[in-house]
């Protein structure tokens, strides 16, 4: 299963079924997933049991698979750039969806666009760039670190995006982008320690009205980059920060018996005290959270033994409590500043 979609006409009549050689995302939990290439007689082992690949072949993507020893189950998902970002091996600090989606959108990429990226890093952004420009565009990505470039190249081949992605080893800060691309590039993405050094080369590469984006964690890098962009007559120089706040959803029954006469009704009073005291209750909730650090962990998601209709009987009681949302306590406070600029349209 390649990450890039094929035309409807070329899809198998029966929809997406898992084949040998496919990459599947084995989903345990929102924050725990793994990319696995399906091989005949292959086997995946995790805390939920043993999963022979042979049982996967022919199943539809999105299927739930129960482990051999019955300890639990996983889901087999079709790979997407978003899932890959959550599953990929970190060779460097990576970009996450908030920055990635904003970059792709702000660079105004579309099928047919030519885009440059430096550095390749772990390839987290590259897959999203590839999806945006496929099938007729191209991503040229550069990293000065040879091992990293090779590892990324392997990932691109494995995920089926290598048709629109070229990886090269090159020090963009030192050498700039290759001359042969000059003037025909729609978008450039820089994630470099000294992005200002690469700007003259960006000017040569971009077409008129083309866009560049520079990602930097520190404001000093931004200040210096903006200065050079301004000197190079870029238009619409804009700097942003994007973040995401994730919410958990839970059932919480706030007590509405604020009994102001605690001795008149012993019944009510004891009712209140049978609830665990605030600290203990919160502690228990906290434990849940640590187990589910990100995003909504759904009930259908709770691993362990497979749940079926028999479980339904427990629900009604739970449904009585109101549903309430609150942000997870900790969140990313900063990833980096995104500076965009548009190649001047000269007269």
């Amino acid at each position: 299963m390649a990450m890039l979609a094929v035309a409807a006409e070329e899809r198998p009549e029966k929809g997406r079924a898992i084949c040998e050689g496919d990459v599947v995302i084995v989903y345990e939990r929102h924050d725990r997933m793994k990319a696995v290439t399906v091989t005949r007689n292959g086997e995946l082992q995790n805390r939920f049991g043993v999963f022979p690949h042979n049982e996967w072949i022919g199943k539809k993507f999105g299927s739930q698979i129960v482990g051999k020893n019955g300890a639990g189950f996983v889901f087999l998902l079709a790979p997407t750039p978003e899932l890959w970002t959550l599953a990929l091996p970190h060779r460097t600090q990576i970009l996450y969806i908030a920055d990635i989606s904003f970059v792709v959108s702000f660079l105004e990429l579309r099928p047919g666009s030519i885009v440059l990226e430096s550095g390749t890093g772990s390839g987290s952004l590259t897959h999203s760039l590839a999806r945006a420009v496929a099938p007729t565009g191209h991503v040229h990505t550069f990293d000065f670190h040879e091992q990293r470039a090779n590892a990324a190249r392997e990932d691109f081949v494995r995920n089926g995006v290598s048709g629109v992605v070229t990886v090269k080893v090159r020090d963009i800060q030192g050498e700039g982008f290759p001359e042969e691309l000059a003037g025909c590039v729609d978008g450039v993405f820089l994630d470099l320690p000294q992005p200002w050094l690469a700007i003259p080369s960006v000017v040569r590469s971009l077409r008129s009205d083309g866009l560049v984006c520079s990602f930097s964690p520190c404001i000093e890098q931004v200040q210096r980059t903006c200065e050079v962009l301004s000197k190079e007559r870029f238009a619409d120089i804009r700097t942003f920060e994007v973040l995401l706040r994730s919410y958990e959803v839970r059932h919480e029954n706030l007590s509405t018996s604020f009994d102001c006469s605690e001795h008149s009704s012993e019944q009510k009073s004891s009712e209140v005290s049978t609830k665990p005291p605030p600290h203990k209750r919160q502690r228990a909730n906290e434990a849940d959270e640590k187990d589910k650090p990100e995003g909504g962990l759904d009930a259908g998601d709770t691993n362990g033994t497979s749940k079926t209709v028999g479980e339904e009987s427990k629900k009604p009681q739970r449904q009585l409590k109101p549903v309430i949302a609150r942000p997870y306590p900790e969140t990313k406070g900063h990833t980096g500043y995104l500076t965009f600029a548009r190649q001047a349209t000269l007269m």
């Binding site: 007559r233 942003f240 259908g300």
Partner: protein, 515 residues
């Protein structure tokens, strides 16, 4: 998959010519007047014009220049026109206030402070009449500004910062600048959010970007969209498809909601043909029909060696028929209704057109967006009041359909019924999300992502809870984006003083097989 490295650079030759970067007759443009003070969409029909202040400015001059070009208003005898200028000139003091340049530029921003400042409004000796006279005589904006500075008693006592502020204000008034931008998902979204956010359900550009990523939108996708945001979602998906794959903009209302924003995007023929409309009822009944057929086939095919598998598949079947039950009472009528829907749709769209002011002379087609800056000269289009985007398609270049979005064909519906959509995007601020998702989720292929935008948190929280307890999805996430823009200037770097407080909330997940 091998050998792609060698062919890489050659792909550049296969990309479409950069004609897309040129402003062509009839195309839609986004006019950014005075650096975002006013944002206006226009279709460059013949003799199109825009009013800036009291001056009518002809837009013909824009054609033939590349997008991103900067124009300045040049007064003439009968109205004014746009003259292309150099994009530089960011430093307005250039050549005007040079004598103050010796003053420390970077560090001591406030070295001239406001201790001695008494503003008595008598600083300017040029009268309003003087200036008007200059303007009718065709004196350029730059020359007027020079005259203003020369006749100001206080200009040179001001700080560099105040001088720049003063000049910027005068420039906006006497030499308005217009950047002609190419409408894109990003720029259209940002323009509406800034000037008329109700039209797009307060959808912020970072949220739109997030939605398109979460929904895995790319070439060859088949995306189901419930778009009650004026067409912004539909058009943004179509832009990413670029002519490969298709976006089905569905609806459940008698009158399909407008998706006229699609017209702002200057799509080529193949991209336009990827925009399809279909009522929800058709999609659901086709899908149910197919499910029944395949369930039968499946149960015939089944051999008994995989117990768990059977259980899982049965569960799926139960869920599907559960859905079919809910609409079962209506399934029988759907077939006969199909045609009438198609007909009616056309009628309704025409009646919407009928509501427009029917001034059919060749004037500018604009969506005038409110200005937030009061000191800006009033800019008005000749059309009275606000209108829908791109409501006059007759003068569009060939290849554009009269109404955006063709109706889904039988093959389309059959394909979707069998394969399912590859993703779902919902933008319906006045509908309860769970009600919508419960109906639309079964139309997706398994493992397909779905994304629900909503301007409120609580309805999505309840929807997420339902999806959890019904075991319909994995990877559920309820998120709120946060976006901040910065002013980066020497010694004056800080986040913008005003910001949007929320981009709304988005619930996303992946549809699974097991119900």
């Amino acid at each position: 998959m091998g050998g792609e490295n060698e062919t890489a650079v050659e792909t550049t030759s296969t990309r479409p010519p950069s004609k897309a970067n040129m402003i062509t007759p009839g195309c839609a443009v986004l006019l950014d007047i005075n650096n975002g003070d006013k944002l206006t969409f226009a279709h460059l029909n013949k003799n199109a014009s825009v009013k800036i202040g009291n001056i009518k400015c002809w837009l013909d001059a824009l054609v033939g220049h590349p997008f991103g070009s900067v124009f300045e208003v040049q007064s003439g005898a009968k109205g004014a026109s746009f003259v292309r200028v150099s994009p530089s000139g960011a430093d307005l003091r250039e050549g005007i206030a040079e004598k103050d340049d010796g003053e420390a530029a970077g560090d001591e921003v406030k070295s001239k402070d406001n201790r001695a400042l008494i503003d008595n409004n008598t600083a300017q000796t040029l009268s309003a009449e003087d200036i008007n006279k200059m303007r009718t005589e065709g004196v350029s904006g730059k020359e007027i500004m020079e005259a203003l500075v020369a006749n100001s008693a206080t200009f040179h006592t001001k700080t560099a910062f105040s001088q720049e502020k003063y000049l910027r204000k005068k420039q906006k008034k006497y030499a308005p600048r217009v950047v002609v931008r190419r409408p894109s998902a990003r720029s259209v979204c940002e323009a509406y959010f800034a000037k008329d956010p109700n039209k797009t359900g307060h959808l912020r550009m970072d949220m739109l970007a997030l939605i398109l990523s979460l929904a895995n939108v790319g070439a060859n996708a088949e995306v189901l969209v419930l778009d009650m945001l004026g067409g912004l979602l539909t058009a943004s998906v179509a832009e990413r498809l670029g002519g490969y794959g298709c976006v089905c903009s569905t609806y459940n209302t008698h009158k399909p909601p407008t998706i006229d924003m699609v017209r702002l995007f200057n799509f080529d023929a193949s991209t336009s043909s990827g925009v399809v409309r279909a009522p929800v009822s058709q999609l659901i009944s086709a899908r149910i029909e197919n499910s029944k057929l395949s369930a039968e086939a499946e149960s015939k095919r089944k051999d008994g060696d995989d117990d768990i598998n059977i259980i899982l598949n049965e569960t799926t079947d139960v869920s599907t028929s559960g859905n079919s039950m809910e609409v079962d009472g209506t399934t029988s009528t759907t077939e006969t209704v199909e045609v009438s829907v198609a007909t009616e749709t056309t009628v309704i769209l025409e009646s919407v057109e009928g509501e427009r002011t029917t001034k059919t002379t060749q004037i500018l087609e604009t969506v005038a967006l409110d200005s937030r800056l009061e000191e800006t000269p009033k800019i008005e289009t000749e059309s009275t009041g606000k209108r829908k985007a791109g409501t006059r398609p007759d003068e569009f270049e060939a290849g554009k359909s009269i109404k955006p979005g063709r109706l889904a064909s039988d093959e389309d519906r059959k394909r979707w019924a069998i394969q399912g959509f590859t993703s779902l995007i919902v933008g319906a601020p006045f509908l309860d999300p769970w009600t919508v998702v419960e109906k639309l989720l079964p139309l997706l292929a398994p493992s397909a992502p779905f994304v629900i935008y909503h301007p409120y948190l609580q309805p999505l929280a309840e929807c997420m809870n339902k999806l959890q307890s019904e075991h319909m999805a994995v990877g559920l996430q309820l998120q709120e984006p946060w976006l901040r823009e910065y002013q980066v200037l020497p010694s004056r770097t800080h986040p913008n003083m005003q910001m949007s407080s929320t981009g709304g909330w988005v619930l996303s997940g992946i549809r699974i097989n097991k119900a």
